[in-house]
Symmetry: C2
Subunit: 203 residues, 2 copies
């Protein structure tokens, strides 16, 4: 397959999520125009993106919702379940531990980590929790591919290093500092403050 731009991948991921909503409403077919409206983009871009991926719709009817979901899932490798671990079990970390939407969409949180024994003992959750000292072992044993960082900023880089050394392939960073990761590790920031800044700048 041709290599896709980040923008395209992001849009396709959004479409993928949007199709869930359509399925719940029992909508069988959807046109590029309606998809575009639901996503805040243009019909041209939707058609181009889908055609770039090699998936195809029907003249006069649009795209088959269920089929499209399957096809996009395959093309983006979203069909296989992915295991994730969360490091940092403060308020945000524990909120993420029990975030049900992950499960629905093929992501499974299989472990939580914190450096405070105190916190580990007090936490009430279904997910197994461990000391960060056991991180390397647990990541290997449980085949964790994705690391989610929810520690205070001072500890973020350290945690990222530990996660990468343990062998995770992707990192989602909720801490407010950018961390650096080795070549080949997929990295994404979720900086809340930055999000508010972006909005403020557009006001």
């Amino acid at each position: 397959m041709k290599d896709l731009s980040n923008n395209t991948i992001e849009r396709i991921c959004k479409i993928f999520g949007y199709l869930d909503a359509l399925q719940k409403k029992e909508i069988g077919f959807i046109s590029s125009r309606e998809l575009a409206q639901g996503l805040g983009t243009t019909e041209y871009t939707v058609r181009k993106d889908l055609s770039t991926l090699g998936v195809t719709g029907h003249t006069r009817r649009g795209y088959d919702v269920k089929l499209l979901k399957t096809q996009l899932g395959e093309k983006l490798h979203l069909t296989q379940k992915r295991k994730a671990g969360i490091v940092g079990l403060g308020r945000l970390g524990t909120a993420l531990l029990d975030y049900e939407k992950f499960k629905v969409d093929g992501f499974e949180i299989v472990a939580g980590f914190d450096c405070s024994i105190n916190k580990l003992e007090r936490i009430r959750t279904q997910i197994d929790v461990f000391s960060v000292n056991d991180l390397k072992r647990v990541v290997a044993e449980r085949h964790i591919e994705l690391g989610i960082i929810a520690v205070p900023e001072a500890a973020a880089q350290n945690v990222a290093d530990t996660l990468c050394a343990a062998g995770v392939k992707g990192i989602l960073n909720f801490s407010p500092v950018k961390v650096t990761v080795p070549e080949g590790i997929v990295y994404l920031d979720m900086d809340f403050t930055n999000a508010l800044r972006f909005i403020a700048a557009r006001l």
Copy 2:
């Protein structure tokens, strides 16, 4: 000022945040190259972005960290404090209520809202909490400009409508569905599942 692309605004917001870290380390000047490294972009892009904004550095020394922070803040209107309210006081919502980083960066959470009286009574936080029935009044009284949505997906669109009707100018949506807002309201999604999907697609 020329109008800036979303990409430029996003990068400038990141630079703005990065300068905080530099100030903490007491670094006085920084070159476009170093900035680029810290941010994962190129020195050309940094220089172009800054020059597009009309801010300027010094030959042989780079940019004055403190001055640059001030200038970027002015250009992006990030100097004035912005008041925000959070709707939905589940685990995520309450985590956001007490997210200290917001305060540091000029955003102030001045109210929380939930529809469950039960939850409102049980919550322990410094921030005043209200029933969503009082949302319109409180948004007006406290001059809330930014609405943060942290409710389950079924309620998200409804909450967005209420917030917009109450007069907020920007919305940050943590729920996993995209909501639609009237023309003129700045809107940004923070979809955790989508973030994981994006990472999985890049693996």
